[in-house]
């Protein structure tokens, strides 16, 4: 059988090879290949070429150093996750999720850098909720949730000693359905804060704690890009609880936390 020089169906054969056709079209081309040596050979070449390219060609992922460099560059240009938070509504959330899909786990480094920048560049106090949300989002990245993993408040509380200049109130609400998962250090605005992590069913709750500037303040409910936030002041501490729990459950958690001895 002599090989034909060409066949006007070869681009369709290629489309079939690339998975671009539906089942009926594909079946018709299988039949065609049985009678067309040119297209049969084309299929073999397509397959060999694909194997060679996919198996042997260099793939150039961005190096860790480049990723970090780009993060720094974007942050210097003011294109930060915090800026994404400040954009209204769904658009901000989309930009944030896009940033995350772009830079992946680098978000943690980016947020840490944002926090460092804040040491020299004070921001309006109204942005605390954005920082709280940034901290929460970052904590959900693998390996960022807790510095000390423990269900025991008697392990978590002393862990903070010497790491921060205050003693955060660490409570375990396991018997109320909100077991303590652990704690970590975090940076919000220009100070170190304690983060306590609780679990409520499938949901994680971050409670960020630092010394208060003012007197007691009743819990207030906020919402940022789908996360619920409750903040209040008591016993000389400012507390921010954030979670993707619904508002009723998060308020329930806060009420139980506050009444727990």
């Amino acid at each position: 059988m002599s090989t034909r020089e060409n066949c006007d169906k070869v681009l369709l054969v290629q489309a079939d090879f690339d998975g671009e056709l539906d089942a009926a079209q594909s079946a018709a081309l299988v039949t065609h290949r049985e009678t067309c040596p040119y297209c049969r050979e084309a299929w073999t070449h397509l397959s060999d070429t694909r194997n060679a390219v996919r198996q042997e060609a260099s793939y150039h992922p961005a190096s860790e150093a480049l990723r970090r460099h780009l993060e720094q560059r974007l942050i210097r240009a003011g294109m930060t996750p915090a800026a994404a938070h400040r954009r209204p509504g769904a658009r901000g959330a989309r930009l944030l999720s896009w940033w995350r899909s772009l830079l992946g786990f680098g978000l943690g480094a980016a947020m840490a850098t944002v926090a460092v920048l804040m040491l020299v560049q004070p921001v309006p106090s109204g942005d605390i909720a954005d920082f709280v949300m940034g901290s929460h989002v970052r904590s959900l990245q693998p390996g960022h949730l807790v510095d000390i993993a423990s269900n025991n408040q008697h392990n978590v509380k002393p862990w903070f000693d010497g790491k921060i200049d205050f003693a955060p109130p660490v409570k375990n609400l396991a018997d109320q359905g909100f077991p303590l998962e652990g704690g970590r250090l975090d940076y919000l605005k220009n100070r170190e804060v304690a983060a306590l992590v609780y679990r409520g069913g499938q949901h994680l709750i971050n409670v960020l704690v630092w010394p208060a500037d003012g007197g007691p303040e009743a819990p207030q409910l906020l919402e940022r890009d789908g996360y619920n936030i409750v903040h209040w002041r008591e016993k000389g501490m400012t507390l921010w609880a954030i979670s993707d729990l619904n508002t009723a459950e998060l308020q329930n958690f806060v009420a139980r936390w506050r009444t727990h001895p």
Partner: protein
């Protein structure tokens, strides 16, 4: 991750590591400032489109500066370290890296408009529609460029290692 795809594309279009990093940085800055006007749903294709356009602009500028030097002259740096399987014995690795160098060279020698189609299709595994969006051409053009690119690769390699 999008950033890896963006870097890979820039690297293959520019054939130079430093230029690719510059283009990637500029493309990201553009992407972040254009983002408010992005209405689509495929953020990866959208980013790759910006990378591609930025790369073309850089190539045009580079061509203005160096009238020549567009050949496949980056062979020395293209044999890369990160893809080596640590478990392979040295001989297998040597053969493998030779095959890799050969394919890399063939790809680098493809004309730019054909090369980008192959990279997007085979390495990023994008659909015709996505590739058409990225290169700003009809799907029919994507199909014929892919076909030409693959035929060139196949012919060039028929004397070489993989078409045994």
């Amino acid at each position: 991750m999008h950033l890896d795809a963006a870097h890979n594309l820039a690297r293959w279009l520019l054939r130079d590591p430093a230029d690719a990093e510059d283009v990637l940085q500029e493309a990201l800055l553009r992407a972040f400032s254009y983002f408010p006007s992005f209405r689509g749903t495929n953020a990866r294709a959208w980013l790759l489109q910006i990378v591609r356009n930025t790369a073309y602009a850089a190539l045009k500028k580079r061509r203005g500066i160096h009238m020549v030097n567009l050949g496949a002259d980056t062979e020395a740096e293209s044999g890369n370290m990160e893809l080596a399987d640590p478990g392979d014995d040295p001989e297998v690795q040597l053969i493998r890296s030779e095959a890799q160098r050969e394919i890399d060279t063939l790809l680098q020698q493809l004309p730019l408009d054909l090369r980008e189609c192959v990279i997007l299709r085979e390495l990023e595994e994008l659909s015709y529609k996505e590739i058409a969006e990225i290169i700003g051409a009809p799907i029919g053009t994507v199909m014929s460029r892919l076909w030409r690119a693959r035929r060139l690769l196949s012919k060039a390699a028929s004397a070489g290692a993989y078409a045994s």
